[in-house]
């Protein structure tokens, strides 16, 4: 997709998420008002009070969930605004983990991210970096033999701009999936993104996970 097409898509998607926030705000206030009114009538008989309040709580929980999803999607949409930007790798990992955890959950895999102590900054295309990380995570999800955990860690300094991905069994044993991962479709797609993003891919000793390290130089814009 060309940069102007991406920016257009991002603009429309961002506008939709903004409108959804207004919808969620009305639902939250209306639900809050119902809770207020029932609290005011606490001494009056109301046969289904507990069921009513449970529903009020459930609506509030779902509003919170909706806010989290729309906020993350909104940030994702805005990541298309600029072809290159200064980013904190921790933010990109947090964002990508949150947006892709559903894919993992469908295979009963837990997806976790661990940030570094301080920010790890680099200049790159935030959109394409999220796409690359998503491909790497997808490759791991497809390759996992069963239930387990995928960890995306940002070690931080002195390692610099890099992250590691580990696939673990439910019991915590690290899996060596190099052969399966590198043969998967998402991985082959990731390899196509690598030159433009200045990503180096490394495999640590068997079973110690994948390392993606990022060039701190400006990214090369792909030819349109």
């Amino acid at each position: 997709m060309a940069a102007d097409e991406l920016a257009f898509f991002g603009k429309i998607a961002a506008g939709v998420t903004h409108e959804l926030k207004n919808v969620l705000a009305i639902i939250r206030e209306s639900n809050g008002l119902m809770a207020d009114l029932i609290a005011l009538a606490k001494d009056s008989p109301f046969p289904q009070r507990e069921r009513f309040l449970r529903s009020v709580d459930r609506i509030e929980d779902q509003v919170r969930r909706g806010v989290d999803i729309t906020s993350r999607f909104n940030r994702f949409s805005h990541s298309m605004d600029h072809a290159s930007a200064n980013i904190d790798l921790n933010e990109i990992v947090a964002q990508t983990v949150a947006l892709t955890c559903r894919f993992a959950r469908l295979k009963e895999i837990e997806l976790l991210g661990t940030p570094s102590e301080g920010p790890v900054t680099l200049t790159t295309s935030p959109f394409r970096l999220q796409m690359a990380l998503t491909k790497a995570i997808e490759a791991c999800i497809e390759s996992m033999p069963g239930k387990g955990t995928i960890r995306v860690d940002v070690p931080g300094n002195p390692a610099g701009p890099e992250l590691t991905i580990h696939c673990e069994t439910r019991e915590g044993s690290v899996l060596d999936l190099k052969e399966v991962v590198t043969a998967s479709r998402p991985w082959l797609e990731l390899e196509q993104l690598v030159p433009d993003l200045g990503i180096g891919i490394g495999w640590r000793q068997p079973g110690a996970g994948i390392t993606l390290s990022f060039s701190t130089d400006e990214v090369n814009e792909p030819e349109q």
Binding site: K21, I26, E29, G32, L33, L40, K42, A98
Partner: protein, 155 residues
């Protein structure tokens, strides 16, 4: 990322009519939002908590209410048809009104936040904000207003 996630504060429901969170009885506040259902519902919840809320559904209507002096605290949306929130803020600043402005928006970017704060907004909330956050912002606004009140001393 699990290490980063923080549990947001729980909802602020009215637990009893004599809720101790009530602020000065009848404190007037002006809600400016083109989403009429949102503004009216929020106004109703504030009324239950002892506020005197006024509602404006456009920037122009807000300025007319400000000129009438209905309130010194304003909860202001940014993106509205016609005059937007930032323009309302600019005019309030230009008019030197005694007004504390809290932004409440579903649209604002980080640049908007920096700009709004530089124009004098004391708080910047994102929709849908929990009522507790709005009440805390009102408290802050009230404190600022009291700070700027001329102090009368006995001679």
């Amino acid at each position: 990322m699990h290490a980063r996630y923080k549990t947001p504060p729980g909802p602020t429901y009215l637990s009893s009519p004599a809720r101790n969170e009530r602020m000065e009885m009848g404190l007037p506040v002006l809600i400016v939002d083109d989403e009429a259902e949102f503004a009216e519902t929020l106004a109703e919840r504030l009324r239950l908590r002892g506020f005197t809320p006024h509602v404006a559904n456009s920037g122009e209507e807000a300025l007319s209410l400000v000129a009438r002096g209905v309130a010194n605290i304003m909860l202001l949306d940014l993106k509205m048809p016609g005059m937007d929130g930032l323009e309302v803020l600019r005019r309030i600043q230009k008019g030197a009104f005694r007004m504390q402005v809290i932004i409440l928006t579903g649209h604002g970017s980080e640049i908007d936040e920096v700009y709004a704060r530089s124009m004098g907004a004391i708080e910047y909330l994102r929709k849908p904000a929990d009522l507790g956050a709005i009440l805390a912002a009102f408290k802050k606004a009230e404190k600022e207003l009291n700070k700027n009140m001329p102090v009368l001393t006995k001679e």
